[in-house]
Subunit: 117 residues, 2 copies
DNA sequence: CAGATAGGTAACCTATTCGTTACCTATGAA
DNA sequence: TTCATAGGTAACGAATAGGTTACCTATCTG
């Protein structure tokens, strides 16, 4: 998987609306563009643009039937990044996991005010 | 973890140079800004800006000693997203895993390590 | 056919991103 | 003190992102 493709997938995921679109399509495979659009507080055109971006990153696949475009989630790019990610960070994680777990749990335990850095 | 924070982390990771910076800092904890900069074909200022973005997303932590800023990798935000991700997509993955696994392995052709989500 | 419905393009506007150069500040060493 | 070095700000510019309105095309249905 090339850098450019990884860039694209990450940048696509960097927008809450698009992440939500993926969720919705995952939950309702074959949903139409307009049906998807009803869940968002933006124009139909904006939704359409997001769909185009998602398709360009191959996170969505669409199939047009008649006048309706049906949308499907494609997990492969995310799967790829997931694999790469675990490989890339697992060494660090495993060697620091006790420490991290401790810090996360300390923060979760009600220490709100003091952020590190 | 709020949407905005997730947006930020993903957008930060959507740049190959920044991903590489994380790798480098992970491999050389405490590296200085200028030492990090030698690995990149861009001005020192551009590197500095990327570092600021990484710090804003809390993927890097820095500590200044004298005139030198030492950089450290903070895995927590990635860990957070990783957890969310696996939760969010694992249902889909597991229900389609045979299919996906088959396709992925066909491409990987001999690579080891089928991860379970 | 007429009209409603689903999708799609084009043009435009504003904010942000990512890089630059120029210049400033703080620290360490000779 | 003097000067090189590490870091940092400010201002700018080109490109891209993310939204809008206006308008067009295709298809289904009464």
């Amino acid at each position: 998987m090339k850098d450019k493709q990884v860039d694209l997938v990450f940048s696509v995921l960097a927008h809450a609306a698009r992440r939500r679109m993926l969720d919705l399509v995952m939950q309702a495979p074959g949903i139409s563009v307009s049906a998807l659009g009803t869940h968002f507080d933006m124009s139909r055109i904006a939704v359409l643009k997001h769909i185009h971006v998602l398709e360009k990153a191959e996170l969505l696949i669409s199939k047009k039937e008649g006048r309706t475009r049906h949308l499907y989630f494609n997990p492969i790019p995310i799967q790829m990044i997931y694999d790469r990610w675990t490989t890339q960070y697992s060494a660090f994680w495993s060697s620091h996991m006790a420490d991290i777990k401790d810090r996360v749990e300390t923060r979760a335990a009600g220490k709100r005010g003091s952020k590190r850095a």
